[in-house]
């Protein structure tokens, strides 16, 4: 396994380079960057900016999947957090707005984690509840309307720039570094992987698997809430019906493209974010190519299938045998 480590991620990086190259072919100005009003513009920046919500979701999702779980409710949590942020934005300070929205995400994560870790429900069922009910709760908060706001602080979160870098991108990068520092800078990541690999064995070996599972769902909820706030800030409003719709699937897709097995036990934060970027680069490429955006889903389906087949235990089994044969010959 250690011999494989440097090679991990090569496929994803190559895929990203290929898709970027294809994008460059369809749109010659793809790599052009320009600075305007202290913020970078260009297709590449656009990819990063639009990829932020899914990248944030995948940061939480990858940890959940590493424990052999899945969180279907992230899209609904985005809608709830967006609804809260939008309805508070014009009357409260940014700190209060953020605290309320992220707090809601935390509670949603606690709920999911409670169902999975304490009641022992299957993750897909447990999170289905919030996925169904969550959008209803978000609509309850906005009273079914699209709530708009004009608070400059919150708008800055969606459209501002720090040293030329759009704020959402900076936030996503910050979250990636923070998550990476916490889970890889300590034994936490290892314990999460142990939980996913074999919960019972880890429990016996003294890993607090319940606390581990609970905390990854909480983190997933917070990440989703942050994505929801950014999505709301981006459009200066909250639409409970459509905010984050189907993004849970994109997030799972990003994690799978990033090479994290759905059977748990190992994960890579960077590759999950890379997966989100690959998805967004495809989306933007299709948009720039002038093909109708309807192609998006078909292309995504083909990519998922390809990645799946490459990850299939049977196929990797064949590849392993082939590699061994080659080694014995040499």
């Amino acid at each position: 396994m250690t011999a494989l480590l440097p090679r991990r991620g090569l496929a994803q990086i190559l895929a990203l380079i290929v898709i970027l190259a294809v994008d460059r072919v369809v749109s010659p100005q793809f790599f052009d960057l320009r600075l305007q009003d202290g913020r970078l513009f260009g297709s590449l920046i656009d990819v990063l900016n639009r990829g932020t919500p899914v990248a944030l979701l995948s940061l939480g999702m990858v940890l959940v999947i590493a424990t052999r779980g899945i969180d279907l409710s992230v899209g609904a949590v985005m809608a709830i957090a967006g609804a809260i942020a939008a309805s508070l934005a014009d009357t409260h300070s940014l700190a209060v707005v953020l605290a309320a929205a992220l707090g809601a995400g935390l509670i949603c994560g606690l709920w999911n984690g409670f169902l999975v870790a304490v009641l022992g429900m299957q993750p897909i069922v447990a999170t289905l509840i919030l996925m169904v009910a969550g959008r209803g709760i978000a609509q309850l908060i906005t009273e079914g309307r699209i709530v708009t706001f004009s608070s400059p602080d919150l708008v800055w979160l969606g459209n501002g720039a720090i040293l030329g870098v759009p704020v959402p991108v900076a936030i996503a990068l910050g979250m990636l570094i923070l998550t990476g520092a916490v889970v890889r800078g300590s034994a936490l990541g290892l314990l999460i992987e142990a939980t996913g690999g074999n919960a019972r064995a880890s429990e016996l070996a003294g890993v607090g698997t319940r606390a581990m599972i609970l905390s990854v769902y909480v983190w997933c909820g917070v990440c989703a809430a942050l994505a929801g706030v950014i999505a709301a800030a981006d459009i200066m409003g909250a639409d409970a019906n459509n905010a984050g719709l189907w993004l849970e699937l994109d997030a799972i897709l990003a994690v799978v493209i990033g090479g994290t097995s759905l059977f748990g036990g190992r994960f890579s934060l960077v590759l999950a974010v890379l997966g989100a970027l690959i998805i967004q680069t495809m989306n933007t490429g299709i948009l720039l190519s002038g093909y109708p955006p309807e192609f998006n889903l078909l292309v995504k389906a083909v990519v998922v299938l390809t990645v799946l087949l490459l990850q299939s235990p049977k196929l990797t089994g064949f590849a392993g045998i082939a590699a061994r044969l080659r080694r014995t010959k040499a």
């Binding site: 899945i70 009641l119 022992g120 429900m121 299957q122 897909i124 069922v125 447990a126 289905l128 509840i129 919030l130 996925m131 169904v132 009910a133 969550g134 959008r135 209803g136 709760i137 609509q139 309850l140 009273e143 079914g144 409970a240 699937l249 799972i252 897709l253 799978v256 759905l262 059977f263 109708p292 309807e294 192609f295 998006n296 889903l297 078909l298 292309v299 995504k300 389906a301 083909v302 998922v304 299938l305 799946l308 087949l309 990850q311 299939s312 235990p313 049977k314 196929l315």
Partner: protein, 326 residues
């Protein structure tokens, strides 16, 4: 009597809910409302019957909503633009959806991949394909559509049992018989109990997997045709999110999501409960439609918690016996 008690609980909830609604709005207790309940949820009942098989076998099918959407567009285009006779269009649509399900089942078995992610890819694929066919809503004007929508059996009390409601009832009964009385049905339970054990007992796991997903997609195709009857149109965005309503109905109907236990009749009752919530909200008038989602979520939670409790109860005697022996 496998899986009967949870379905019985669903039936009690349905009857109690119906009674509570009828006390508040006496008009609900009429064949008219019940007839509408069956008609409005006909497509959901059909697709949920198929999903029951998949979930009992330990899998999941996220692609059904997209297959419904694809079928409505395909049928509409075939009849209105390509000049196919409606029946031929139906057969072609069903053949396509069955082949699609069989392909998903084959991928799941041959490459040993989680059904969740394979059918997720299938969901993107089918929805993408329907977008490619047409992004506009295509009205269907073929005479068969008006004939079918006009057809209805009169019920005593002014209610109408429409053609699509009858199709749904026939499929639900047929599905229940298939699951209870045939070797195929027994194998579905066996797969959900344990794939390894089933395989050792001589169940052809691969063939079964293909057949189960084929059945689910085929029923989604039929649901798509029924949906096109219901709306007299084909639209690529129709039935978005139906897979979740369907899974919710199956769970509320007492089917264990871990597989091995459940019933088609329970699922049918689950569909009716969801329909009843919607009807109640319509009657009330002051409640908004999002309460449907919240109420469904709460019911979902209640039923899963109940199942969890039942499973724990079922396990307890075993551990006690083991404890006594040691």
């Amino acid at each position: 009597m496998r899986g009967l008690p949870p379905a019985l609980i669903t039936a009690i909830v349905l009857v109690a809910g119906f009674a509570a609604c009828a006390v508040q709005f006496p008009n609900i207790a009429s064949t008219r409302v019940v007839g509408n309940l069956l008609t409005d949820n006909a497509f959901l009942g059909i697709v949920a019957a198929g999903m029951t098989f998949v979930i009992i076998s330990g899998g999941i099918d996220l692609s059904v909503g997209s297959v419904i959407g694809f079928t409505t567009v395909f049928v509409a285009l075939a009849i209105e633009r390509w000049g196919m006779p409606p029946l031929a269009a139906f057969v072609a649509a069903l053949a396509l959806s069955a082949a699609f399900g069989a392909a998903m089942g084959a991928v799941i078995h041959v490459f040993d991949l989680p059904p969740f992610i394979v059918t997720l890819a299938g969901m993107f694929l089918a929805r993408g394909a329907s977008f490619l066919l047409s992004t506009e809503s295509i009205p269907i004007t073929a005479p068969i559509y008006s004939t079918v929508s006009d057809f209805a059996l009169r019920l005593p009390g002014g209610g109408r049992l429409t053609a699509i409601a009858i199709i749904m009832l026939v499929i639900v009964i047929g599905g229940a018989l298939l699951l209870r009385l045939t070797r195929f049905g027994a194998n579905v339970y066996a797969l959900g109990g344990s794939r390894v054990t089933a395989s050792l007992m001589g169940v052809a796991v691969g063939t079964m997997t293909v057949k189960i997903y084929m059945l689910s997609s085929l029923l989604a195709g039929i649901a798509g045709i029924v949906f096109s009857f219901y709306t007299s149109a084909g639209y690529s965005l129709s039935a978005v999110g139906v897979e979740l309503d369907t899974i919710a109905a199956v769970v509320i109907g007492g089917t264990l999501l871990t597989g091995g236990q459940g019933s088609v009749i329970g699922t049918f009752l689950g569909v009716l409960i969801q329909g009843l919530i919607q009807t109640y909200i319509n009657f009330d008038g002051t409640l908004s439609s999002w309460w449907t989602k919240i109420a469904t979520g709460i019911l979902l939670f209640a039923f899963i918690a109940l199942q969890q409790g039942l499973v724990a109860l079922a396990r307890r005697p075993l551990t006690k016996r083991a404890g006594a022996a040691s």
